[in-house]
């Protein structure tokens, strides 16, 4: 049996240990169900919101001009009997009433806080302004000229791609997906290895395959788990976003989902997958030295892969600085930093190949040294190897 046959056996086992098809289908059904519920709820809420409110208008003749039409408000003529109007409010046959006190002031009475008074106020203010312009003899063109701002044209001498909210959204989206992949896979890798040590299955496995084949299989299996994790995150966020859109579309208006180009998608995928392999190799090797995850200070190492994501978030706004370029090529950070820069700027042509080459080199080194550390650590029960012992294992294998 070849090394890679053993690796694929382990990878399949690891993948199926943590990704169970039935549970995945149930999760998918639950997510779609939640999306459906959100959508239906949003539909009814939007329908209820679209229903016009009935507002009584008292003494409209005191306003200096025509009563303006207000979106979502149906005016009802009314006598100035506020007691009668309040009874109608209590009986919910009326949503509110407006008492015009003078051309410059009015009073709104309603049961509880609502959005339509703002629209009423804005409409009356606009109507009053229009009436004032008409009375002053200024033409509409003159009024527009008075309101207009001075035109400036700005030119940047440094070439930079225009960034907008969509680019930032893509960058943040990438970071969220990378986070889902790293933390999902790393978490399972951690619990898997420490669990195997505690279950004492290591001797039985290592008598059949090499530590390197076992570690490689784990990395590959967790990569699969991470991809499923990313898919689940995309689905969850998609359902959430769709539900939120249905609920709040009247507030946000039409939303266009920013999508990076296919070349960027491929580059991001390559970087993220290689980055995950590198981090899994390091985490897998180090985790093997942990005896009991419940009382080992070494468990905090699990948080390390978050650091590159934090740094990548920081460079999002300053994506062309030397620091950003450095983080985009350094193997431990490039898998998060360069994808963010691919979304927010146009990196130099050499950055992607250099980042990939360095990542591949780092993976080779991490597998070599990680395999040595894993071989030493995973067979150690009852005590954790000291850092001196770990260094000795790294040196001698």
């Amino acid at each position: 049996m070849t090394h890679w046959q053993q690796v694929f056996s382990v990878a399949r086992w690891e993948f199926l240990r943590f990704v169970k098809l039935r549970q995945q289908l149930i999760s998918l059904a639950v997510m779609l169900g939640a999306g459906l519920v959100l959508g239906v709820a949003g539909y009814f809420i939007a329908k209820a919101r679209a229903k016009p409110v009935k507002v009584a208008l008292v003494a409209p003749e005191r306003f200096d001009g025509a009563v303006p039409a207000v979106e979502g408000v149906t005016w009802q003529p009314a006598a100035p009997d506020e007691d009668a109007l309040k009874r109608q409010l209590a009986a919910k046959t009326l949503d509110g009433y407006v008492v015009v006190a003078s051309p410059d002031s009015a009073r709104i009475v309603l049961r509880e806080k609502a959005k339509w008074p703002t629209r009423v106020r804005d409409a009356f203010t606009a109507a009053r302004r229009e009436a004032a312009i008409r009375q002053s003899g200024i033409t509409a063109g003159q009024f527009a000229a008075l309101q207009a701002t001075m035109a400036f044209e700005t030119t940047y001498t440094k070439q930079k791609r225009d960034t907008d909210g969509a680019d930032e959204a893509v960058a943040i989206g990438i970071l969220v997906l990378v986070f889902a992949g790293v933390m999902g896979g790393a978490g399972y890798l951690f619990t898997g290895i420490t669990g195997e040590k505690q279950l004492r299955v290591t001797d039985a496995i290592l008598s059949a395959i090499s530590p390197m084949a076992w570690l490689d299989g784990k990395i590959l299996g967790q990569l699969g788990v991470a991809i499923v994790g990313i898919f689940n995150t995309v689905m969850s966020l998609g359902v959430l976003a769709a539900g939120a859109y249905v609920l709040f579309r009247d507030k946000f208006g039409p939303i266009s989902i920013p999508m990076p180009g296919p070349a960027v998608v491929v580059q991001v995928l390559v970087l993220v997958l290689l980055g995950l392999v590198l981090w899994y190799a390091l985490l897998g090797a180090f985790t093997s030295t942990i005896d009991d995850p419940n009382d080992s200070m070494r468990s905090t190492v699990l948080l390390l892969p978050m650091l590159p994501m934090y740094l990548a978030y920081l460079i999002k706004a300053k994506s062309d600085t030397p620091l950003a370029v450095g983080l985009s090529t350094f193997p431990l950070t490039s898998y998060a930093a360069l994808p963010v820069r691919l979304a927010t700027t146009t990196p130099a042509w050499w950055e992607f190949p250099v980042a990939v080459a360095l990542l591949l080199g780092a993976i080779w080194l991490a597998r070599l040294l990680g395999g040595r550390l894993f071989a030493a650590g995973v067979q150690m029960y009852g005590k954790e190897p000291s850092f001196r012992e770990m260094l000795a294992a790294l040196r001698t294998g």
Partner: protein
Amino acid sequence: MRAEEPRQRTGSSVAGTVSIEVGFLPGCHLSRIGPLETQTLSVPILQVRDVVKRYATVTAVNGVSLTVRAGERFALLGPNGAGKSSLIRMVLGLTRPDAGGISLHFDGAITPPGHANAARIGYLPEERGLYQDVPLLRTLTYFATLRGMTSRAGEAAAREWLERLHLADRAREPVKALSKGNQQKVQLASALLHRPALAILDEPFSGLDPLNQEYFLGLIRDLAAEGTTVLFSAHQMQLVERLADRIAIMQAGRIVLEGTPAQLAAAWHAGDVLVMQVAPGDDPAPLARHAAVAAVHREGEEVRLTLRRGVPVGDLLADAARTCTIRAVRTERASLHDIYVQTLGGNPAAAGPEAA
């Protein structure tokens, strides 16, 4: 006759044996693997030569040499910490010797320990462990694939073993749903379902009730009958006596006695044990000086005199009657337990076979 005697070892020396250099493994003394006559009839499957293993300040294995022949059931005995598991881990390639050499012989090819032998070796570790949340069938299939079987062949072998273990109806249940005894059965199956040429079983009977011990004994016998060589360690002397073709007893990292059960008994000249019920105040110690007595052990009012084989008992009973008040007498065959206790607890120089 000398060549048929077991090897009583002091330090790394070998006493009472013939030493022959063989061509394919320079420096290997076939004398250490047993009588010359049997060597010509059986092929070695495992050879361990002057192996040393140190952990920090402890020498776990100190110059051990042994040979296991194909088809043999070889028992490795010794108290906890004697170095049995350390030796087994080196044979498997889990750790490397600091000195000496280990070679495995499969189909005429000689290989060092390591994962290249995975398909040929089955291993039941002393530290038992299975994935608790995984169904039995999947667990066994996984171990089979790690040992070189295809998924389909592995699953077929797993089903066959579950049938054999009367667990076929529980194939889809997780391991944790089984009793401890049944979990051990599954663990044993995981070590054997790929039909290894050499099965290394580190304390296969530990933690089992007597019925399951008998069941395991039967399984291991069947395995050997099917042609698998078995190297095992155990503390249950009665079971070892019934199972082992050859035995090596280890102490403090060395093999102190090696041979067939009959040879070990002969080593102590201990074909029989004279058991006497004596008065509480009696002191049987002077009987150790009698020519026919190999060892004297007292447990309460019972005194056990291990007799030297071939030496006339003569006036032993008369001597015993002068020393103690004998209330009852019976004879027993010396058990492996007696030999083990005397080897490790007695004084080998005094009670053991004559040095060559």
